[in-house]
Symmetry: C2
Subunit: 243 residues, 2 copies
């Protein structure tokens, strides 16, 4: 079933915005009576029926709602350096949203080569990935912030910095993170964090972690970190659903 | 340090092939005396010195070798359906090689939409990703094979089929796979495996696994499966290296 984004849904009737209306009526050619899903980005999944298939303002009647749809019992915040290659950064965004991440902060580090990000474009990618993977909570994209500032103002139950420096002991995330914990994970730029940055993080309560012995690109490290937390929080089994 | 691919290295002197020679001498402008790394795709990492920077046949003198460089004590074979979007399939290849995979077989399933792959192009991507991530073992790319044939002729210590069917119990990989085991993981096409395919796999010793509750694209599922095995095999800690 097709999913539309309805961030400001409050009523029994909802008008899709112009972009979603055009997509629904012109591209997908949906008619009156078609059943669709809506997500509000705040945890709810709605089912609705198209009442007025207007290509600028398509009106949907809401027929049911599931609140806290597949709510995770942990929150994950990934702070990652912007990358030189924007496509690789965008790939990290798509994949981490698909797997599951609550908040992403671009963090400018000493070795960050290209500090900017295209926020509007990335917000669009987050919405697409959220719809595609049937997530109901919108990943929050923060504005870029300096490393020191981030270390000073952000807190969580569990704080980790993933790095490759051989000068500092590192543990696996599986031996550092406990299932259910809210966590922040820092991922460095192409040339990694400096030892000074790592020391600053450790003095502020961060734990030093590795992502295995493979030499991973930054965007792969970001996805690997996201998947590590997702994996540790996975339920043991998903039983057959009786019909 | 730059890494070159030297698949047929046997001697104290090695001539890079034409492509690698051109890259070394014309693009990177390396001179006589530059120290470089070579990998043979069979587990060895070499250090060498450029003796003749010829752009068609660059000669390197080998000065040292490390056999079984960062050898993994498990082997991972991912069998995955080719995807409609070739770029997404190629992305799976790059990321899984970077994380670590020994063998990849494209498996044609009932719901595979586009059965072909561009083998030569993918072999090139595997070599690039291997060099970039400092892997010394070349991931073996098999020719595409039908699902039934694959199930019948491939074996391993651990066999898993990852799918989304609600009609069959599924366990997490973390509750199915044991560290150190050689394993085969099957990943389906965009529309997933059919129940018949899953049943056939189960009758042939495969275990039914899930990759969590997120609705993942096939290529993301492939990377998630690869990372699950990598993550479970990670050493607890990497200690500081004394200088």
């Amino acid at each position: 079933m097709h999913i539309f984004f309805a961030p400001d849904i409050t009523d029994k009737y909802y008008s899709l915005d112009e972009k979603e209306s055009r997509h629904c009526v012109k591209v997908l050619r949906m008619k009156k009576g078609t059943i669709v899903n809506l997500i509000d980005g705040r945890g709810s999944l709605f089912e609705g029926v198209i009442q007025e298939p207007d290509s600028r303002r398509c009106i949907i009647e809401i027929t049911s709602v599931t609140n806290d749809f597949e709510k995770r019992d942990y929150s994950l915040h990934i702070a990652i350096s912007p990358l030189k290659n924007m496509e690789r950064f965008e790939w990290f965004i798509e994949k981490s949203v698909e797997i599951g991440v609550d908040e992403i902060t671009p963090v400018i580090c000493s070795r960050t080569e290209k500090p900017g990000i295209k926020s509007e474009r990335i917000k669009g990618l987050i919405i697409s990935a959220m719809k595609q993977s049937l997530k109901t909570r919108l990943t929050l994209l923060q504005e870029p912030v300096n490393f020191e500032e981030f270390i000073n103002y952000v807190n969580s139950e569990s704080l980790m910095i993933a790095h490759c420096s051989n000068d500092i002991d590192r543990k696996s995330i599986k031996d550092t993170y406990k299932k259910g914990e809210d966590t922040v994970i820092l991922i460095g730029p192409e040339g990694d964090f400096t030892n000074d940055e790592i020391s600053l993080a450790l003095r502020n309560g961060y734990k030093s972690v590795h992502l295995g012995k493979s030499r991973l690109r930054s965007e792969t490290a970001g996805v690997a970190a996201c998947h590590s937390i997702y994996f540790l929080n996975q339920e043991e089994s998903i039983p057959e659903q009786k019909h």
